[in-house]
Symmetry: C2
Subunit: 243 residues, 2 copies
């Protein structure tokens, strides 16, 4: 059974304002919830069907509310609710950073599916940190969480003034930017300590960030599409940089 | 002004059944409609705001209905309608095929955003043909059309019995399949006349298709994500095969 207050609370977490207030976010579907259970994230409450509870043996210290499918649908942000939904505490932001290796910077990426897919790609290639401009979509947006397919537990997403950050670390790392008219990534030699900047879906990298990029890179175009989706670009570029 | 019958007809095109009956589909947003206008597709009707009509000078032989934003919202499949929506005739399927170069085969890809993104990636890399199993999502689904960003006009998407097709052409081309345990794509030499098969989002390539693949390929995994999104995989693999 789920109370009216619980319904109201879980649904409120679809909005950033209430996530910030309560410091909680929502994770849905078995794959995602199981990844959370196997991570350091702290769960506030699980809502799940009888079937799900019987299938997965959850530790005793986690609060589980057995609900039916209709109740799940009422709190879900999905068109068709899955068998489980978890309310999870937002962890403290990391405060010490290590810029060695490959790091990603996102300059106002707005689409939740794109951020989620980029997190999943980073997890595939072992990239641990994504630095986002403050205008980038919130990582705890339900659509972002959903499309990470659990990778949210293994990639740190940090919101910061990316211009200041790039200026501070540029002495020690190479700063690459994915643009339309840079050097062909298949031809360049890559620096293994790098920041790679990706821009907004419509406008690309902003002028103030472009000015402080040291190497402009491009995916060689053979056909006629005007542009590639930012997550597709990240996939191709990380395959090059991380191998 | 838009009539009740027009509203009913345009909205019906969100469903595959009615698209098949009327042989029409819907294209929304300026970028997509302009790509259609610059292609061989035949437009049945454009619905657009006064602003849009004044900004873009459309040929006289195209029927334009001037409507307001509220009317557009009533026929749109988008959360927020853009300034223009076109009803477009579905072209006849191509009947003669040329399997030279790189061709894509999709085995039951279900997500509209994935198919749309793959079409856009193919257009970037100059891949002209995508062969889809009959269970693959319909290319004229509004979400597919939207996420192609106009590339739908330059890439042919053909629905067929892909098993039979692969068996017929396998003498002349190499048949690659993207799987979890194949050869690292960064290490292989690629054949420039190839079919590359990508599988369903949850289950990968079906057994009956796996059995007739000649080379199994994989994107080298460095981190811990269980899998990559199928469009991300297509981006990485086409960057390798088409360059």
């Amino acid at each position: 059974m789920i109370s009216k207050n619980q319904i109201k609370f879980v649904k409120s977490l679809q909005k950033k304002k209430f996530r910030l207030e309560s410091k909680c976010f929502v994770v849905e579907s078995s794959k995602n919830v199981n990844e959370i259970l196997n991570s350091n994230y702290k769960i506030q409450q699980i809502y799940a069907t009888k079937n799900w509870i019987e299938k997965y043996k959850i530790r005793d210290d986690i609060s589980i509310n057995q609900v039916n499918k209709n109740e799940l649908q009422r709190i879900s942000s999905l068109k068709t609710a899955s068998d489980v939904l978890a309310v999870v505490h937002i962890p403290l932001e990391k405060s010490d950073f290590d810029f060695s290796g490959i790091n990603i910077v996102l300059d106002d990426v707005k689409d939740p599916g794109n951020l989620g897919t980029i997190i999943r790609i980073c997890d595939w290639f072992g990239v641990k940190n994504i630095y986002c401009s403050e205008e980038t979509v919130d990582v705890y947006n339900p659509k972002v969480v959903q499309s990470t397919m659990g990778s949210i537990t293994r990639v740190d997403v940090i919101y910061t003034n990316i211009r200041r950050m790039i200026q501070e670390v540029a002495i020690n790392v190479e700063v690459y930017g994915a643009v339309m008219d840079g050097d062909d990534i298949n031809q360049i030699k890559v620096n293994k300590n790098s920041l790679i900047v990706f821009g907004n879906e419509s406008n690309g990298i902003s002028k103030e960030i472009k000015d402080i990029i040291s190497e402009r890179i491009t995916i060689n175009k053979i056909g006629e599409a005007e542009s590639l989706n930012v997550a597709s670009s990240a996939a191709i570029i990380l395959n090059k940089f991380c191998n």
